[in-house]
């Protein structure tokens, strides 16, 4: 079958709402785009373990410690699941990690901000995971089978993360004046990065018709951002936190919140590597990889010895 015919069949399948599976024919541009997106997502999960892991040893109660451990374990599991799903497209995890370590591959810009106080753990769950859910529920309807199924599972866990984050914030916002201040401060610092993490505005990020048609991209960045803001602003008001946007107002006609100007300069600066923690995050990952090299070598050597013994026996 020639490529043109295969492409027609591929597009017809997607238009009919069917999933594309690893062994199906797919255009090279589709495969490449998915590898890029899925590996970025996997990298985000494992880099995201660092700012949150930063507070596990200091979690203020045994219950909070257990919840945070469970949450970070979920992130690690998501990372593993997503690397495996990406491998179905014919690329190795080691190759993907190499791209992360060399700075060639990106991960979510949000994890280049530091977690300065305990309230940041609440803010991440509530805002960062909240924004991620908006994006990922859309991606769960995407056309690539392994990725869309991964999103279904991941979204379920993310909604637990989102709730525990909001619960931390609610608790702080209703606590002592110091705790309330801590919550508002974290909210001030994480609000803008959270709405930025959903990607550049539509005029700066023209979604190619092709990616939409192929159901790789499901919704525009601005549409997802709007949903996130509409959902989050009332939650902030409910617990008595003030959204750090003087221009924010509700439009009665459209039924949506309108936000002030987003500092896209900061966003692109962080993407380029100039955020507060870019260097630290990559350094931590590279060091863990280096320090673990002898462990992985030992495991490989042992497995080879075992396989040999099995052959002899």
């Amino acid at each position: 079958m020639d490529d043109k015919k295969q492409l027609e069949q591929f597009e017809a399948k997607i238009a009919a709402g069917l999933k594309i599976e690893p062994k199906d024919w797919m255009p090279e541009a589709y495969r490449k785009q998915l590898i890029r997106m899925m590996s970025q997502h996997a990298h985000s999960e494992i880099v995201g373990m660092l700012p949150e892991g930063n507070w596990i040893t200091r979690a203020p109660s045994l219950r909070r410690k257990a919840i945070l451990l469970a949450k970070v374990q979920d992130e690690a599991g998501h990372g593993l699941y997503l690397y495996s799903a990406t491998e179905t497209l014919g690329v190795d995890r080691s190759e993907l990690l190499e791209q992360l370590h060399s700075g060639k591959a990106k991960y979510s810009s949000i994890f280049n901000y530091p977690t300065l106080t305990w309230a940041d753990i609440g803010a991440i769950g509530w805002l960062v995971d909240g924004a991620a859910i908006m994006n990922q529920t859309a991606l769960a309807r995407g056309s690539y089978g392994p990725y869309s199924r991964a999103m279904v599972k991941i979204c379920k866990e993310e909604s637990f993360h989102n709730r525990q984050g909001y619960e931390i914030m609610m608790n702080l916002a209703q606590g002592t004046p110091e705790q309330k201040e801590m919550a508002q401060d974290a909210f001030n610092r994480w609000w803008w990065p959270s709405i930025m993490m959903l990607g550049p505005s539509d005029d700066k990020s023209p979604n190619s018709d092709q990616l939409m048609r192929w159901k790789v991209k499901m919704e525009s960045n601005d549409a997802i951002r709007q949903r996130f803001i509409d959902r989050t602003v009332p939650q902030a008001e409910f617990i008595g936190l003030k959204v750090p946007d003087a221009d924010l107002k509700f439009n009665d006609v459209t039924g949506h919140y309108e936000h002030g100007p987003i500092n896209w300069e900061e966003f692109f600066d962080v993407i380029k590597g100039n955020g507060p923690c870019n260097a630290k995050r990559i350094k931590d990952r590279v060091e863990a990889d280096k320090k673990g090299a002898w462990v992985r070598e030992a495991a490989t050597a042992y497995a080879a010895k075992q396989a040999k013994e099995k052959l002899v026996a």
Binding site: I46, M49, L50, R58, P60, R63, K65, Q179, G292, A301
Partner: protein, 252 residues
């Protein structure tokens, strides 16, 4: 010492050891040698925190002074902590973490096996739940003992060094005092002589299978039962307790 005091003390020993070794494991989060190990270590740390929560919660109840498991975890100082010295030793390289964990998991495997038939129903129930988890922990660390011991020359050397350095903390695992004596008489606590025999047999088997040497040392570090710890514990507690100590009376 009456039975209630002995039980409180015994629960602190068990609960503190879980809490402290869980804390150490959680320090690996995001820095493990491979993603699968990150997941395993966090999972095991979570089991320990859960186990510590149950034991310290029960300790608080037995004490009957209105304290909670969080009060016991966050508001006691170094000298009041009863965790085994082995559990507070720093992570070191992966071999040191695996060696520490293997020695401790083998210990709790046989200890909790005994506690499953404790005449104290709460301790028995906690032991039944924990023993299921510990069975997985021990399987995990035993596998790594074999991989590292019988892996490469480097891994072999690192693991042997780790075992040699940790060995002086192992005799303390089996020390018994008045607390144990009282509770063993009541059928509540485990006889650590029995645990010791099983521990030695298993540990020797695995170390030999891993092509390593069982360390020999005359140095026996002890003191945790009287709250005499290594210098490491103070730093660990300073980190763990800093929020509740900085904001007294706040709820989180």
């Amino acid at each position: 010492m009456n039975l209630q005091q002995a039980k409180f003390e015994y629960l602190l020993r068990l609960g503190d050891s879980s809490l402290i070794i869980g804390h150490r494991l959680s320090e690996w989060c995001g820095h493990g040698p491979i993603l699968e190990e990150d997941i395993a270590l966090i999972n095991i740390a979570l089991d320990f925190v859960g186990n510590a929560t149950s034991l310290l919660g029960y300790a608080a109840q037995v004490e009957g002074k209105g304290r909670t498991e969080d009060d016991l975890a966050y508001l006691r100082g170094e000298r009041e902590y009863r965790n085994l010295l082995l559990t507070e030793q720093p992570n070191g390289d992966y071999a040191a973490t695996i060696a520490r964990q293997f020695l401790y998991d083998t210990y709790t495997f046989f200890l909790y096996e005994e506690l499953k038939s404790s005449k104290d129903e709460t301790i028995a129930a906690i032991a039944v739940k924990s023993h299921k988890e510990i069975t997985y922990h021990l399987r995990h660390t035993t596998q790594w003992m074999l991989r590292l011991g019988d892996g490469t020359e480097e891994s072999h050397q690192r693991l042997q060094t780790a075992l040699n350095e940790l060995w002086m903390f192992t005799s303390e695992l089996f020390d018994m005092d008045e607390v144990d004596g009282l509770l063993i008489n009541e059928g509540i606590a485990a006889d650590l002589d029995k645990v010791k025999a099983a521990w030695e047999k298993r540990v020797n088997e695995v170390i030999t299978e891993a092509t390593l040497q069982v360390p020999v040392t005359n140095i026996k570090q002890k003191g945790s039962r009287e709250g005499k710890h290594s210098e490491h514990l103070g730093f660990l507690l300073a980190e763990m307790q800093y929020i509740p100590r900085s904001y007294p009376g706040s709820k989180w």
